[in-house]
């Protein structure tokens, strides 16, 4: 949950029908403008530029399966990241990016290093302040207008500069906030499509974040709820160091 999501309201959704016909006939805005607008409506460039680190506390639930957990994610301007958490009945779940190497360590599958496109994806996700600095990561193109959950949105195609499959962001025409993303995660387990919707924006230290995100992965719905965010905390460099099992794999 690194970037941009949009708040839906019933009034907004019902108002969209009349607006959309005219809007669809208008020329599409530039993708750069859609992306930059997101930064503006969620807090503004000046606030983003003050950000040095973030610590997020997230609750997760596999919807309908009774499986819940909590997760804490640390990121900072070193572009390192680490998430640690626990899922009830399953055990620990850790993942991170350390000096450009992405890794994962769970009680189920064990420790593993990511490589290729999967590593590139994780490194981009860890890129700090990517909402503001997206031009360092992607080439953007406005791909059209689509309705998402009753809300008319601009569809933006983001193609990684380092290569790989594009991801698609859907930004509300009305609010400028992001409604949905679609991406294909390429890993040794195959190409897996991940769709994520978001809602319930709240402000944390000057920036709006979606506090509810629902990811759909292989028929499972995973609900993530952002319950706390601390910005600009001093995170010791060692915090990002991977656990021993991962370091052993790195040393091989």
């Amino acid at each position: 949950m690194t970037r941009r999501f949009c708040l839906l309201s019933a009034a907004l959704v019902s108002a969209m029908a009349l607006v959309s016909v005219k809007a669809a006939e208008a020329p599409l805005p530039k993708a750069d403008d859609i992306m930059d607008r997101y930064v503006e409506v969620t807090g503004g460039k000046a606030v983003y530029e003050t950000r040095r680190s973030e610590i997020m506390t997230i609750e997760m639930e596999i919807v309908g399966r009774g499986i819940k957990g909590t997760l804490t994610r640390y990121t900072d301007s070193s572009n390192n990241a680490i998430s640690t958490g626990e899922i009830e009945g399953v055990g620990k779940m850790e993942e991170g990016v350390y000096n450009g190497q992405a890794w994962e360590n769970t009680a189920v599958v064990g420790p593993r290093l990511k490589s290729g496109a999967e590593n590139d994806d994780a490194v981009r996700d860890a890129y700090f302040n990517s909402s503001l600095l997206w031009r360092k990561l992607y080439k953007a193109r406005t791909a059209g207008i689509e309705t998402v959950n009753g809300e008319e949105c601009y569809k933006v195609e983001l193609t990684p500069l380092s290569g790989g499959k594009p991801q698609y962001d859907y930004a509300s025409k009305k609010t400028g906030l992001l409604v949905k993303t679609e991406r294909t995660v390429v890993s040794p387990m195959g190409e897996i499509t991940v769709e994520a919707s978001a809602s319930d924006y709240k402000q944390f230290e000057g920036i709006l974040y979606p506090t509810r995100m629902v990811q759909t992965v292989m028929g499972n719905q995973i609900a993530l709820t952002l319950i706390a965010l601390k910005a600009n905390q001093d995170i010791p460099k060692e915090k990002f160091e991977p656990p021993a099992e991962i370091r052993k794999l790195m040393a091989k």
């Binding site: 420790p111 040794p188 387990m189």
Partner: protein, 429 residues
């Protein structure tokens, strides 16, 4: 995340509970549950419906019956009828009472007691294959090789004959029958069930068997009823031997498995005993396989969902066991255990000993229905790396070795002996 089947004993035990009439609200909840389950199956079926199954017709035929069911049992029977039309494993209705009875078992109430021994069907007879240490069964002198003659007043051989005649042929028929036999020895921990054995020779042994807490530590994940998970590790000479009853409770089990491998990296061989293991969390097969495969980019097989597939990739550990690997299986080895054994066999990493597995390997999930019951449904097919579906076929051992009553009475384990002989043969060279 996929799961093992719910123990039949738990399901069967729950059927004696609740017979009261239903309120209009409960009837509506049952109808909603039927609709929910029917729709989930329709939307998640990874292939065309099995031949002869018109899913809409099943709906139209059974929906009125669930709406007019007068008891919870009747409503569940209708839903079981619905899913039985698929003739596939890993579809099940778990009565809400099961959650209550199993969850309270730890508090020594309700069902959930264990007889303290395990059986297999040999020549149409239920024969004890193992006795849990420290249980009343062990204290009463129950021994491997003893034949279970009666349980709670029921003639076991007659029950087996009836099931053999009534159940359709399938690879998992023996699994179903064995679970049904064990379900006859059910009750709360501390309660007693009269059982009669044929000990060695013609000696009849009658015991008021005290049921005990199931072996292992309780584990709860999602809507799966509480399970007890045990892990056993030992060295036989310089060969490692591990056994565990389910791929569950990864926090504890993965650590214990890791310790067992790391403590025996230089051993002559490694034996993993999956006999009777019904599976569990599918992903754990990948994690455990990583201890035995050195090269990245290898997989156990592929899970095929309706519109996507997931490869069961193996991620090698920093240190792996590179010596001979033997896996023991039998007709009660199912699901994740089959994925693990079948995959390692297919890539030439393990040699399999025992008898053909259950062929019950559809990845599934469990959700709660509006009426409070659990609903387990398969979401995918699974094809092992060798290209064969495991559902309905199972894993065929490299060396077929059957349990025999004589061997059990003599204190031997033929499949384990065969695995040890294979390992030592390689070591001796």
């Amino acid at each position: 995340m996929t799961f093992a089947r719910i123990p039949a004993a738990a399901v069967a035990a729950s059927l004696i509970v609740a017979a009261a009439g239903l309120t209009p609200e409960q009837r509506k909840l049952n109808a909603d549950s039927f609709e929910y389950a029917w729709t989930k199956i329709r939307d998640n079926m990874w292939a065309p419906m099995p031949p002869g199954v018109d899913w809409q017709r099943v709906h139209d035929e059974l929906k009125p019956k669930v709406e007019t069911a007068r008891t919870m049992q009747q409503a569940r029977a209708v839903m079981q009828d619905m899913i039985s039309r698929l003739k596939l494993t890993h579809f099940n209705i778990v009565p809400g009472d099961v959650y209550n009875t199993l969850d309270t078992a730890a508090g020594r109430r309700g069902e959930g007691g264990s007889p303290g021994f395990d059986v297999r069907l040999l020549d149409s007879q239920a024969v004890v294959i193992s006795v849990d240490p420290g249980t009343p069964a062990e204290a009463a002198g129950v021994r491997p090789g003893w034949r279970l003659v009666r349980a709670d007043g029921q003639d076991i051989a007659a029950s087996i004959r009836k099931m053999q005649a009534g159940l359709l042929p399938s690879t998992f028929k023996e699994l179903s029958m064995t679970r049904a036999v064990l379900a006859k020895i059910s009750g709360a921990p501390g309660s007693k069930v009269p059982v009669e054995f044929d000990g060695a020779g013609t000696r009849a042994v009658k015991i008021d068997l005290e049921l005990t807490e199931p072996r292992g530590e309780s584990s709860k994940i999602g809507f799966l009823p509480t399970q007890h998970v045990w892990f056993e590790s030992k060295k036989i000479g310089n060969t490692a031997y591990v056994a565990f009853n389910m791929f569950l409770d990864p926090a504890r089990l993965s650590t214990r498995f890791a310790n067992a491998v790391e403590g025996c990296l230089k051993c002559d061989g490694f034996i993993i005993d999956l006999r009777g293991n019904p599976g569990g969390i599918g992903g754990m097969s990948m994690g455990f396989a990583g201890w035995f495969v050195k090269r990245a980019g290898i997989r156990l097989g592929i899970m095929r969902l309706k519109d996507q597939e997931m490869k069961f990739a193996i991620f090698p550990r920093s240190e792996v066991f590179g010596g001979p690997l033997a896996i023991l299986v039998d007709a009660l080895t199912a699901s994740t255990s089959e994925i693990f054994a079948g995959g390692l066999k297919d890539i030439g990493r393990a040699r399999i000993f025992g008898t053909r597995t259950a062929g019950a390997a559809l990845p599934s999930v469990i959700e709660k229905l509006p009426n409070g019951d659990g609903f387990q449904y398969a979401i995918a097919d699974y094809v092992s790396e060798g290209g064969r579906r495991l559902e309905g076929t199972g894993v065929e051992p490299d060396e077929v070795v059957n349990w025999t009553r004589d061997a059990l009475l003599a204190g031997r384990d033929p499949a384990l002996d065969a695995a040890l002989a294979w390992i030592h043969k390689g070591t001796d060279k």
